[in-house]
């Protein structure tokens, strides 16, 4: 009985101390920067209370029984207590887990709207960005036609809706920036939705979470959250640049789309070196290559706008990889 009481005491201590302890350090999902990530984290911490309590209960009983009922001086094959079972205990440990699971499910459903639903837009409205996962880069399209690759810029404090997909000819990817919420798959032939509303400025890193091929590990993504005015300025600057051969977009394209396989200086990485290749100096050849692919190279630029092709060519002209 005393053992039972002390075990119960231990369990209740864990109940009180667990969430606080877990929230410190790396025993919980990363520090959230958006309400949906916050909701997931508090669900995680709530579930942790029960998980740790059950863990301590079971492992505690296991260790206690191992110590208490070890053989000591008894004969090796002497019988233990010949108990075949007990119905009341069976009922107890069938119903208790049901109660615990009910509580967990109830808490999840209470937190769910805050995780799933996009919050009401404030004075500055909301922003919608189309996210496309492709081997092995992320492409973002803003409502005004601005295109960005791998690094997304977003305003702080504004709900950002993401529609996430992948081209029909591509494979499945998964969009995941841990601080800004859970992941959602980018699936060819399907459009999924998710959102975030960053509560502070900064850069939040993530990467593709669904095995998508040889370059999977290099398919990184980041979201740079800017003050609203700064974001608006960036968006306008990019829009204007895009009409005249946007070198910034060209650079992002080179780094995000080309360099993962061919190296930042075209020195070769996952695949062959391209530095100094005549193709890179011929805008027409570049366009044919990226739109159609060649041999093992997928059509990484299928579906790109003319502006995006121009941007890449403008960058290649201004700073040819590996020097001219």
């Amino acid at each position: 009985m005393r053992a039972l009481l002390s075990l119960a005491g231990l369990v209740s201590l864990v109940l009180v101390a667990a969430p606080a302890a877990l929230a410190q350090g790396s025993f919980a999902p990363v520090e959230p920067a958006s309400p949906n990530a916050e909701g997931i984290r508090s669900s995680y911490l709530f579930v942790s209370i029960f998980i740790l309590a059950i863990f301590v209960l079971v492992e505690g009983a296991l260790i206690a029984f191992i110590l208490k009922y070890r053989r000591r001086r008894r004969a090796r094959f002497a019988d233990g207590a010949q108990i075949h079972g007990q119905t009341r205990l069976e009922i107890l440990w069938t119903t208790l887990p049901v109660v615990v699971l009910f509580l967990i499910a109830a808490f999840v459903f209470i937190e769910l709207p805050g995780i799933k639903n996009v919050p009401e837009a404030g004075a500055s409205g909301e922003l919608e960005i189309r996210v496309t996962g492709r081997q092995y880069y992320w492409q973002y399209e803003y409502p005004n036609g601005v295109i960005a690759i791998d690094r997304m810029r977003a305003p702080v404090g504004v709900p950002v809706r993401l529609t996430v997909s992948a081209p029909d000819s591509d494979v499945i990817h998964s969009w995941w920036i841990p601080a800004l919420g859970g992941k959602i798959d980018a699936i060819p032939g399907r459009v999924n939705e998710t959102w975030f509303e960053a509560d502070r400025t900064g850069v939040f890193e993530g990467q593709c979470a669904e095995l998508c091929g040889v370059g999977h590990a290099f398919m990184t993504a980041s979201v740079e959250v800017l003050p609203e005015a700064e974001f608006a300025a960036w968006l306008e600057e990019r829009r204007q640049a895009q009409t005249t051969g946007d070198v910034a977009l060209g650079e992002e394209t080179w780094e995000g789309v080309c360099a993962k396989c061919h190296g930042l200086a075209g020195q070769g990485a996952l695949y062959r070196a391209v530095a100094g290749s005549a193709v890179l100096r011929d805008p027409q050849a570049v366009e044919t290559l990226v739109r159609n692919g060649r041999r093992t190279m997928p059509a990484v630029g299928a579906g790109w706008t003319a502006e995006q092709i121009d941007a890449l060519n403008a960058y290649l002209k201004e700073s040819p990889p590996g020097g001219s």
Binding site: I51, Y69, R74, G85, P178, E193, L211, H216
Partner: protein
């Protein structure tokens, strides 16, 4: 009754007799040895994976080779280790435990084994195929699995088809054997719990393997093939042609989730045999454990989409799959509590087999509990496909199944070979495996929480390096543990001989000699409870007591 004739003289050589055997005990040993060989091979792949990830920007192997290793490591551990080694235990033990002379269909049994051996060879040799082995993970999701060039993926499909045929034949054999060949007096509620687990294992294999076969056949046809001038090119999973890539995931996980229980249930069965013998008690709640085995088997077919919470299913479906998944936790909890109660007021002896069984209990609890996070779908949106999941399923499949298998090997080794394994080496390999396992896989929970996705060939984030290095060091400790076991096996060839029943165990396999003769039993006692040998010994004692009093 199985028909048994003397083998033809040409088949009596030392090697030939093993190659042509239809004896369930020899087939069981062949299954176990072949699976252990694949376990070592797939384990070595795991060591290379850990070496690659030990430090940021590791380049021990290139990313394509890494993806091949991840794919074949996972596929082998499930199809060439988990399922067949338990089929091996089942083959060896089921006829002995139910007092039969052999399986119902001995030749079909041999066919099952040889299909398994060849299927395994196809998978392992696919590394040498044009374009290397399959690279799309053990789940092989399309469109990726349909777009990878070379023959690796096709051989992966071929291998799984062969293994499926092997398992189906084996499953039918188990079911017929268990239904028809039980000893007199062995009613369903007197059947050993390991036999119960193999019974449910066999039904699950029959129910879900055909769905896997269909799904991977669709991938094969989508990849396109030429048959005598006919070109076949379908588009089941190709959205450009109106197909649906998510459809495959439904089919795969309808098979894939029960597959987890196909492996785990017989492991549970081993634990339910080992604990009572080393606690000198009957199992606590026999009927509850048998019932929970059936319940887990049934519910495992209703939870598949909890592997798909991030594909964008409607919330109502996700809610259903969360609740259904949580329902499975209830019978699983029943088992754990009943095992704990089996230790209560026992006379515990800590031989290696018992240590592995207790290690199983302590580790499997963790794997079960982390599953609750993953069943809660909004939490899964964060944790899915991260290293948290890798840690979770290694706690269930390695910590659960492999520890149970080692418990079983140490427990039944004297029955199979008539000699004891060395206790000191056994305890050494247990402690190394226990420490190494937790060192390898516990830090992976934390990596997942920090945002490290699974199946990445390398990473640039240096803050992940510490946990990864710990994990890699742990994998070496496990390597040494397995080495200690191998040494133990070699040494045991000169180990002390044992009689019929070195553990004073309870079930019929200990009634016959160690190792048993080809026909298993000269006679089988009438079975009066789940512990026929305990009853026999008691009656013997009573008779001696009566004689002493007289």
């Amino acid at each position: 009754m199985a028909v048994r004739t003397e083998p033809h003289p040409a088949y009596q050589g030392k090697v030939v007799s093993w190659l042509t055997t239809t004896d369930h005990k020899r087939i069981g040993i062949l299954y176990i040895c072949t699976s252990l060989l694949f376990f070592v091979l797939a384990g070595l792949m795991g060591l290379v994976i850990r070496l690659q990830l030990m430090q940021a920007n590791g380049d021990v192997v290139d990313p394509q080779r890494y993806n091949e290793l991840v794919t074949i490591h996972g596929t082998s551990m499930v199809f060439l280790v988990g399922v067949p080694i338990l089929a091996g235990f089942g083959n060896y033990l089921v006829p002995l435990m139910i007092g039969a002379h052999d399986m119902a269909f001995p030749r079909l049994n041999a066919l099952s084994y040889w299909l398994f051996a060849f299927g395994g060879a196809v998978l392992m040799l696919s590394f040498f195929a044009q374009g290397g082995a399959a690279q799309a993970g053990w789940t092989s999701y399309p469109p990726l699995a349909e777009q990878t060039a070379g023959h690796g993926q096709d051989l992966w499909i071929l291998s799984l088809h062969i293994l499926t045929a092997s398992s189906i034949a084996g499953a039918i054999n188990f079911l017929v054997t268990i239904h028809n060949l039980r000893a007199r007096g062995m009613t369903w509620t007197r059947m050993p719990l390991f036999v119960w687990s193999i019974y449910v294992y066999a039904w699950l294999l029959l129910a879900v393997l055909p769905v896997l076969s269909a799904a991977i056949t669709m991938i094969l046809l989508d990849r396109g093939l030429e048959l005598g001038g006919w070109e076949i090119q379908t588009s089941f999973f190709d959205p450009a042609e109106g197909g649906n890539a998510v459809l495959y995931q439904h089919a795969f996980w309808f098979f894939g989730h029960p597959e987890v229980y196909i492996i785990v249930l017989p492991a549970f069965g081993i634990i339910s045999e080992v604990l009572p013998v080393f606690a000198r008690k009957p199992i606590f709640g026999y009927k509850a454990i048998a019932f929970s085995t059936v319940a887990i088997g049934f519910f495992s077919m209703l939870v598949w989409a909890h592997h798909m919470f991030t594909v964008g299913l409607p919330i109502s479906l996700q809610a259903y799959f969360m609740i259904a998944s949580m329902v499975i936790a209830v019978p699983t909890g029943m088992k754990i509590f009943n095992w704990l109660a089996t230790l209560w007021r026992g006379n515990l002896a800590f031989d290696s087999a018992m240590l592995f069984a207790l290690g199983f209990l302590s580790i499997f609890v963790v794997g079960g509990l982390t599953g609750i996070y993953l069943a809660a779908f909004p939490i899964d949106w964060q944790l899915h496909d991260s290293y948290f999941v890798v840690a979770h399923f290694h706690y269930t499949l390695f910590g659960g199944v492999v520890f149970a298998i080692f418990a079983g090997l140490h427990y039944w080794w004297p029955k199979m070979f008539g000699r004891m394994l060395d206790e000191r080496l056994g305890k050494l390999s247990f402690w190394l495996l226990f420490v190494g396992f937790n060192l390898t896989f516990f830090p992976q929970h934390l990596l997942g929480l920090e945002g490290m996705p699974r199946r990445i060939a390398t990473y640039a984030n240096e803050s992940w390096e510490g946990y990864n290095t710990l994990s890699t060091v742990g994998s070496w400790v496990m390597g040494v543990a397995i080495l200690a076991f191998v040494v133990n096996v070699l040494v045991s060839r000169n180990g002390p001989r044992v009689g019929n029943d070195p553990w004073r165990a309870y079930t019929l396999e200990w009634y016959t000699t160690s190792p048993p003769p080809p026909h298993n039993f000269d006679d089988v006692p009438y079975v009066t409870s789940p512990r026929p040998l305990y009853d026999l010994r008691r009656r013997l004692r009573e008779r001696e007591g009566a004689r002493g009093a007289a």
